[in-house]
């Protein structure tokens, strides 16, 4: 399998704080790659570098054969990257349907004048994209809440809607920032099923940050471990589990 994403020697600093120091790793096409590490290890910063929310000082990200030092988030979206956020970045004033429809905005080619007059292409597009959205709504089993404002939904469902919004953009690679944070066991099981299905059935490469080791070891093909902004482990789940540096980072070292 080819590498869809190659992160090479990325360093990101905020003023004097080094968030990420010289990290390199590859993500193969079609795999689930989990990025793990203790709090403050630079996992979220890593995702933000990959899709252009943060601009690294040194290093390159090669995505889909194109090597770039920086990319802007919009170009990343056009190139087929979609993501969710750690602290849910849904559009709170909009309904579930509107939120997920926003994920289709790159498929809408009609001008604002056509949309304002509600003629021709604008009407047709609205219907076609609604069909795509309804497929995702059905897949995530959120039919009953499609017209509810997202601010009224419980946390677990909001996470699901956010996954739907990313998924409906038909991405090549999906970046999930803690998709299971704060969920109970049942919700975690549901979410794991969705992620596996997205990966296996639709073949979407997934990069996921997750803290629940059980989930990580069960569903991921490849694990990258970060600690204090440095990469300390990289390999299959079983390789990583037996890596002494990783054990030290998680369990501490006796002095």
């Amino acid at each position: 399998m080819t590498d869809i994403l190659k992160v090479e020697n990325v360093t990101l600093t905020f003023g004097g704080v080094k968030a990420i120091t010289d990290i390199s790793f590859n993500v193969r096409e079609g795999e689930i790659c989990a990025v793990i590490g203790p709090n403050g290890a630079g996992k979220s910063s890593m995702l933000n570098v990959i899709n252009g929310v943060y601009l690294p000082q040194i290093g390159t990200v090669t995505y889909d054969g194109v090597e770039r030092r920086t990319i802007n988030p919009r170009d990343a979206a056009i190139a087929g990257m979609a993501r969710t956020f750690q602290n849910i970045a849904l559009f709170q004033g909009m309904t579930v349907l509107e939120n997920i429809m926003t994920g289709r905005n790159l498929f809408m080619k009609s001008s604002w004048l056509e949309q304002g007059l509600n003629i021709g292409r604008a009407r047709k597009e609205e219907k076609e994209n609604r069909l795509a959205v309804e497929k995702v709504i059905k897949f995530l089993q959120i039919e009953s809440i499609r017209k509810t404002p997202v601010s009224k939904l419980p946390y677990g469902l909001q996470k699901r809607v956010e996954l739907g919004r990313a998924l409906v953009a038909e991405p090549k690679i999906l970046l999930l920032d803690e998709p299971m944070a704060g969920m109970n066991l049942e919700e975690k099981a549901d979410m794991s099923c969705f992620i596996l299905e997205i990966n296996k059935e639709q073949g979407i490469t997934t990069v996921m940050i997750e803290h629940d080791m059980g989930v990580v070891m069960d569903i991921s093909d490849h694990v990258v471990v970060l600690d204090y902004g440095k990469k300390i482990g990289d390999g299959t789940p079983s390789e990583v589990m037996s890596n002494q540096d990783v054990i030290d980072a998680y369990l501490g070292v006796s002095h």
């Binding site: 929310v53 909009m94 809408m108 604002w112 949309q115 304002g116 609205e126 953009a169």
Partner: protein, 364 residues
Amino acid sequence: MIYRETGNFVTNYFKDREIFPLKFDKIIVIIGLLFLYLYVPTTSEYTLSAHVVPILAVGLATVGLNILTGLTGQLSLGTAGFMCVGAFSTYNLMLRIPEDFMSLPVALLFSGIFAGLVGVIFGLPAIRIKGFYLLVSTLAAQYFVWWFFNSYAWFLNYETSGVVAIPPKMYDYWGLGNLLGIDMQGYPARYVLALTVCLALTYFAKNLLRSNTGRNFMSVRDRDIAASVMGISVPRTKLLAFFVSCFYCGVAGGLYSFCYIGNVDLMIYEIDRSFTILFMLIIGGLGSISGSWLGAIFVYEFPIVFTWVGDTIFQGAFNTAVVENVSNMVYGVFIIALLIREPGGFAALWATTKQKLRMWPYPH
């Protein structure tokens, strides 16, 4: 029990997007249109000139501000300035272009576009700044526009008094006056023009709101970083919002001068008017098109009703100063109360009432 929502089953996605999904609503809309077009023009000139036409003009400006502030979340205090651009452009287009090529509706359209472009220029800082800092930029727009038209007398055709009356011939467009045998400068004709423009633009705004552009606007308002991650160009969306919003304000300014007061006067486009329109927006409800109209009606009518109450019940006990001060206090109380209890304004109150009636007599 004539009005019921049950039994209305949506069978395709076009039906699901309808503005008025119920048959009963559609009938009401048709009756309403007939009322507005056939009955209202026959009422007294006083009703039209003192109530209906000015509400149409300021209501349209409120809808415009709503697109920028309510939908896209960009605060603006330049509304009156952009209305001013609209009013002056309409006048100058009518004055300087031979009447064979220019008519009032066309001039209104172009002055909207002018105002929109001015809006885009003053909206440029919005790419980098937001919130209160952007407020300063739009405040600058307000004062700059005012200063500009005040300094260059050419725009007022060198009228020294600062007020120029609109010549009657400017109202006569497309030979409609002769054709229909009506006085085009009279308030009924002006009213019909203003009403048509307002209905068309309200429909346009409503469509925009429920389409991709509207969703882009709202996504920039709610989470601009998430919006950019989804491929929405945030700067473009903000500038588009400025253009559309200021287009509405420009047309509203043209209507205010041409259909309501009948002269072009710089003094009525001062900062006070920007604030009044902002009050209308907040009281009516940010983000709701129908709320904008409710807010405009409330804020515009309140002093009039208050004066009327004073005159009829208290034998004219309230002079104009009292009315003005009480009105401002009432707006203030309404804004504070609404912001605390119901930030969605009248539009949200209406939605809550409807929800309560659906459940009635049960509390939940």
